[in-house]
Symmetry: C2
Subunit: 204 residues, 2 copies
């Protein structure tokens, strides 16, 4: 329980816009040119909500021991490490067991094969399922009385379905705009669609 009534109200009333992340691939420069050829260019197809981040014009196929999935969007700009984010539903289809992690935490993550128009790359690690998280500007964090890496619970509701999602990680940066990121399994379990609003209901 909070000691401060005003504080309680702030948190209870906190509406969080929700973005649903479909499977995608952050890529490093070396993997990109191997998969798509030396003449390929990592160019913007659609802007993402994070400043400077974009969905590129490239898609690739990801392949595991049990199956493959086509048309996985490559995001830019380049990262130091290639990182593929999928849902647990995708993992079952591929026959892989990626850990549920925050972006960038790739040590001992799952292996995955990437197939581009120009080549194939087997990555020993880099496949994860993203842990649900909320991007916040510094001013949002101050208003909600939370800080970077806090764990919170968010209520998300669609038609008939409603759930409280625990273990949601708060990420604070001057670059962020307020947005919760869930994957397609979480979105579908709550029957929500793009532009749904979550409620920050509890701080743990």
């Amino acid at each position: 329980m909070m000691s401060n009534q005003v504080h309680d109200l702030d948190v209870t009333n906190a509406n969080i816009p929700i973005a649903i992340s479909a499977r995608h691939c952050h890529i490093n420069e070396e993997d990109f040119y191997h998969l798509f050829g030396r003449k390929a260019v990592l160019q913007k197809w659609k802007a993402l909500s994070l400043p400077g981040q974009f969905a590129s014009q490239q898609v690739l196929t990801i392949k595991g021991p049990r199956g493959h999935i086509d048309n996985v969007r490559v995001l830019g700009p380049f990262r130091t490490e290639t990182q593929v984010e999928i849902s647990q539903t995708d993992a079952i289809k591929l026959g892989v067991a990626p850990p549920i992690r925050m972006s960038g935490d790739l040590a001992d993550s799952e292996s995955i094969t990437l197939i581009g128009t120009n080549g194939i790359r087997h990555k020993k690690q880099g496949l994860i399922i993203a842990q649900a998280h909320i991007h916040m500007a510094v001013s949002d964090a101050a208003a909600f009385h939370v800080k970077d890496k806090d764990i919170v619970t968010v209520e998300i509701s669609g038609k008939v379905r409603q759930l409280h999602l625990m273990n949601v990680v708060v990420r604070v940066s001057p670059d962020f705009i307020l947005e919760m990121h869930v994957d397609t399994d979480e979105a579908n379990a709550a029957a929500i669609h793009t532009h749904s609003i979550g409620k920050l209901i509890k701080m743990e």
Copy 2:
């Protein structure tokens, strides 16, 4: 809030075994013979937890405007109405918008095309996404102080992920053994696997 402390404890401690329902098709006799031929037999392949219910030896393809899904298991015995249950993830792949419903509630549900080894059937309704529910024997319902059609909340937790699933329907019958039924989206959003245990945490 409960008025009775012992009652509270009963409910708080209630462990509910969870079954994860993959997409499947309950079928009526006419559709079965049309899809699989006059000589086909709806025979048991695997028993289900509900007495007398079984996964049959037949699978079919379901087809919507955007895509199709193969190998959808047909369940027996025959029902009066054919009913196909899929996840929201499946619905997006097929390009359909089934309502979230309890089994048997098919009025104005979604249309779906069924493709068997011997024929094709277009059903004007019968496609739903199952609402999460708990089967209980009469003695379980008495122990948990709930009744048929009560709405409860269940906590389900896997590795890293944890959620409270609201709007879970209680179904009570002398034929039932205690088991919660969730679909693959709900299971994956909680990162649970077969034989997980849910906790009945609240009565609404």
